[in-house]
Amino acid sequence: MGMASVNTASEGMQLCIFDLRRGQQEGQELDKILFFFPADLPFATQLSVIGLSEGLITFTRIFSPDAACEVIEAERHSHVFFEAESDIWMVMVVEKSKESKAACQVDALRKVLKEVHSLFVLFHGTMRSMLEKETSGGLIRSHLYPFITDYLSDFLIGKKLQLPSFHDCLMERGTVQMLTVGREAAIEVQDDTISLFTYAVLRLTPHALSSGATSWSYLQRTNAGSQVPALSTITNSGSVSDNIYRSRDTSLDQDNNCQVKRPLHHNRWFRGNDGFLASDIWGADNGSQTSVTPIVYLQLTEERMYLCAYQYKSLTIILLVPVSSILNGEQGLSLVKQQVLENVCVLSVPASLKMLRVEEKLSKGWGGENAYHVSGYRYLLVDDERVSRASPPAKVMTLAKDSLLAMSKLREEVNLEKKAKCSSSEVNCDKELEICVRAKNGAWVIARTSRGKELYMVLEKASETLLYASDAVEKFSNRYCSGVFSLD
């Protein structure tokens, strides 16, 4: 999975990040570009994309000062806007596919932008703070290029970028998929939880979703953090993307190039000497063999935390330890880790008894890939826009294209209704809404929102009547949503 392919197969998509506080003088326009993908596009083209975006941000503020441009919909392209930080904009230009011209999932694409930004902030802090640290922009550019390129490589299928489309209308990016656990065991989901969960799914369990719990290659014990022999052949992708930003910013940061950390680099986690997951992404401690523990930033407080991950079978435990509470860096941290293992786990056995029990309990309770399949239903349940549960993707794929398109369109309508409701003066943003559509192909496409919960459902084999379809929703609601969507 080399970066080169990302670069060459990109005619369908452009992604740029620019800072409106920079490059406002004639002749200095290039300065506002913080990131552009594909990087090999001529500057004139890059500037024209950014020029249009900037123009429309200014234009729309005439009428909508509080919410500037969100999307430009043209016949062949959608331009999706996201103001990641004040005056720092991310714009994604997506070519419309022939089959889904009508239904481009703008909201899902915006969530992609939001996700990559959250992950960036998780590992590097805000873009603005980085820009303030180093005003020439070299630092942020050298960080953004590998980070986003690594992120985008996840969307590569073959040589094509496969961005969210109507096929994905029954999943929700930017939410945590919760196991059904007791209320006391469930944690409160916050923005940081979502980022960490996303990261864990993206990079800590790369094989878990596709091939079950059998192969955990990165768990292999290795001696030195800097050597990953088993995986090095696959992960030689660095050079290409290194070239991307090198070619852009040669003058600026040739020197600190090697210090740029790539938290999204694939397959760089392995089991460290202490049993915790370790990675050489952050380099290794001088004089010691232990790799440096990654530090992440909490979104709200911007507090710096050590990220410690421990895995046992299909269980991953993430510990965040405030940097400020550890006095002497890695040394202090390893003491903490040791304490954790001693208290929670007993090192004599492969893992602790407690952890063993938790793992057993969860894997017994979790039915695997199809755990959340409910026969006859294709659904997505979103709670408070943070937690979601859905039919397994393989089951959703059995739906007819027309049903998916209809659902995709319906989700767009519901999002509009939600937005209208929230923008109106009413304090309560919750929208009570029930929409049942019988599509042309006879499928029932249903959306329900109630008390912060959203339920989307496609019933292809339901009978013709609305009452039957409503009844099916009612049953589902009573069984799986504690009756939130039931009428009585």
Binding site: L52, F63, S64, I72, K431, C436
Partner: protein, 635 residues
């Protein structure tokens, strides 16, 4: 280029096979006007008045596109009277026009609008508002509707408060308001729905609010956005920002833009832009494209001078006339025999060389114009959108609205043939009922006048006009009457068939004022017959009483329509939608579409049953509520 040149080129360029060969004059006329103005446009500072003068001086007949020949029955019109209505004395007794005769008055809408602009505070003194004022009831009851539409988004800041307050009391008067505003005014920026027409060189042609001339810079920005995207090999459809949508429509050299925060879906707004464009074509024909080919900087504002009122009335109708999104027209409920009688005489006339004959009626307060009867010659068919635009043009132009007077005006039906002018003879029988005769011949005035006299005689003899008045007073279908039908009569009886003053319906209507709506919480319905291109709407009743509520329901229907007819995947078959305001049920079949609104707490099963009953009811009375048979609509 000489006018005869342009007339021949106009004929040969005409791609539309539907129109039978026209007499040269009519071709001549359409191109001539444009040529004239083209010439005017080249002399940069030519004012509207100068242009008019120029046209007059040329003495080339019906040179004005927007001008309407108005023929008084009595043949005389006091000249001071004329001054008031027309402005700077440009009216003249026509002796060079093709329809020329002793009593022909040339009326120019633009002068009238100038009057209105100058004296907005005393509308009764202006030609337009005075005329509107006479239909006082209608204006008054539209007030809250209008004020809401016209309202600025957020009242409360110092500027907005000042502008917003008078509006909320103001009656809806046609024509442009807030001409003092431009894009720098906060109040202008906060208007809920802007419409712009501009040329591809960025010249403003029309703006719903504010002075076009002051909006030149803004217009250039719109043009820049469109052409920037176009240069990238693409075409911009819309831009979204918060609750705002900017919708673009490119029609050759004409750009149309709507900026709205009304929550209407993109599809609705673009359909409205299509209608605005259609309205412009109705006034000018599509041959105006040629002017832009010759001169990209061509300024067409003088050509549209005074038609502000037509556009603003059309835009206003987007918030209350279901015909605008249903693409169907409504009929006045009438006994079958009455409509047959009207149809027979219209058919008679159509056989004598009239292309279309329409007997129309402005039906009650706030509701759309309704058709009494219409016929087309041979295979000619009239698109519902053309009817909407034609009706709007005639009803919004005060020049037509003189009872017992006759008008003769060139118009173009964009769906019928966007390249050529037809000629419309318009006569009001009374304040609300009027006749339109359309012909391809510009010299047919006297023939059409004769036709009108024949029609009038028959209509009077067969009591059609009095039936029309009675029906106008009675109103249409009422949801309250559905329960009567279901519980007591079961079968084919209907409100429309009832004698006007039987006691039962009266009593029941009284009681239904206390209760809410019809059975099972039914509040309102719209039924569209697909084959007939017609729709019927129930009367608004409790609790949809105020115009604000009616507009909200209208918007909800519009959204539902778009959702059902979603491009690429529609039409859906059924939709049930419940929110805090309504339960909406929609049912689309190859034969009909039903849109029904219920109490939000309505029972699903009962609502479905009620919808079935509504469909049955409509079928039972379709003889009275629809124009059936001899349908010219054979697309």
């Amino acid at each position: 280029m000489s006018s005869s040149d342009s007339s021949s080129s106009s004929a040969s360029d005409d791609p539309n096979p539907k129109l039978k060969p026209q007499p040269l004059e009519s071709q001549f006329q359409s191109s001539l006007t444009l040529e004239d103005s083209d010439g005017v446009a080249r002399t940069d500072d030519a004012s509207v008045a100068e242009q008019q003068q120029e046209q007059q001086d040329e003495g080339s007949g019906n040179g004005s596109v927007d001008g309407v020949v108005n023929v008084e029955d009595n043949g005389h019109r006091d000249s001071s009277d004329r001054e008031e209505g027309i402005g700077s004395g440009e009216a003249r007794d026509g002796d060079g026009g093709s329809g020329g005769g002793g009593g022909v008055v040339w009326r120019r809408a633009n002068s009238e609008v100038e009057l209105e602009v100058e004296a907005p505070a005393s509308p009764s003194s202006s030609g337009y508002a005075g005329g509107r004022g006479s239909s006082g009831a209608s204006s008054a009851s539209r007030a809250d509707d209008a004020s809401e539409e016209d309202e600025i988004e957020v009242v409360g800041n110092d500027d907005g408060g000042a502008v917003g307050a008078p509006d909320s009391q103001a009656e809806w008067t046609p024509g442009k308001r807030h001409v003092d505003e431009d894009d720098a005014s906060i109040s202008w920026r906060k208007r809920k729905k802007h419409f712009f027409i501009l040329s591809n060189s960025g010249k403003p042609i029309y703006s719903r609010y504010g002075d076009e001339h002051k909006l030149a810079g803004f217009s250039a920005t719109l043009q820049a956005i469109i052409s920037f995207v176009e240069n990238g090999g693409d075409r911009v459809k819309y831009v979204k920002a918060g609750m705002h949508q900017v919708v673009f429509l490119v029609k050759g050299p004409i750009y149309l833009v709507c900026i709205s925060c009304t929550e209407e879906p993109f599809e609705s707004l673009v359909a409205q832009l299509e209608l605005v464009y259609g309205q412009m074509i109705l006034i000018l024909t599509k041959s105006l494209n040629r002017c832009f080919e010759k001169n990209p900087k061509f300024d067409m504002t003088p050509l549209l001078g005074g038609t502000d009122v037509v556009f603003s009335a059309l835009i206003h109708s987007f918030s209350w006339n279901p015909a605008a999104f249903l693409h169907a027209y409504a009929c006045l409920p009438l006994p079958y025999a009455t409509r047959q009688a009207a149809g027979a005489i219209l058919q008679d006339v159509a056989d004598s060389g009239v292309l279309f004959a329409l007997l129309m009626c402005k039906h009650r307060v706030g509701t759309s114009l309704k058709v009494i009867s219409l016929v087309g010659a041979q295979k000619a068919s009239l698109h519902p959108d053309d009817m909407l635009l034609l009706g709007n043009f005639i009803m919004s132009s005060e020049s037509f609205r003189q009872v017992t007077s006759e008008s003769f005006s060139p118009i173009c039906l964009p769906r019928y043939n966007p390249m050529a002018f037809l000629h419309a003879y318009v006569h009001y029988f009374d304040a609300d009922t009027y006749l339109i005769l359309l012909t391809t011949r510009s010299d047919a005035f006297y023939h059409l006048k004769d036709c009108r006299i024949r029609i009038e005689t028959v209509l009077l003899k067969s009591n059609v006009l009095s039936e029309v008045q009675r029906s106008t007073l009675d109103g249409g279908m009422r949801v309250e009457d559905l329960s009567v039908d279901l519980q007591q009569h079961t079968g084919s009886t209907s409100r429309v068939e009832d004698k006007p003053h039987t006691e039962t319906p009266e009593r029941i209507r009284e009681s239904s004022l206390v209760g809410l709506g019809g059975p099972a919480g039914l509040w309102h319905f719209l039924y569209r017959s697909v084959y007939l291109d017609q729709y019927v709407s129930s009367e608004f009743s409790s609790p949809i009483n105020t115009h604000r509520q009616q507009k909200r329901l209208y918007r909800a229907y519009q959204k539902l329509y778009v959702s059902m007819h979603s491009k690429g995947i529609g039409p859906h078959k059924t939709q049930f939608r419940r929110d805090e305001n309504y339960v909406l049920l929609c049912w689309v079949t190859p034969d009909f579409e039903l849109y029904a609104a219920f109490d939000p707490l309505a029972d699903k099963a009962l609502a479905i049953k009620t919808c079935n009953k509504v469909c049955q009811w409509v079928k039972d009375v379709e003889n009275e509520i629809f124009l059936l048979g001899a349908s010219p609509f054979s697309w």
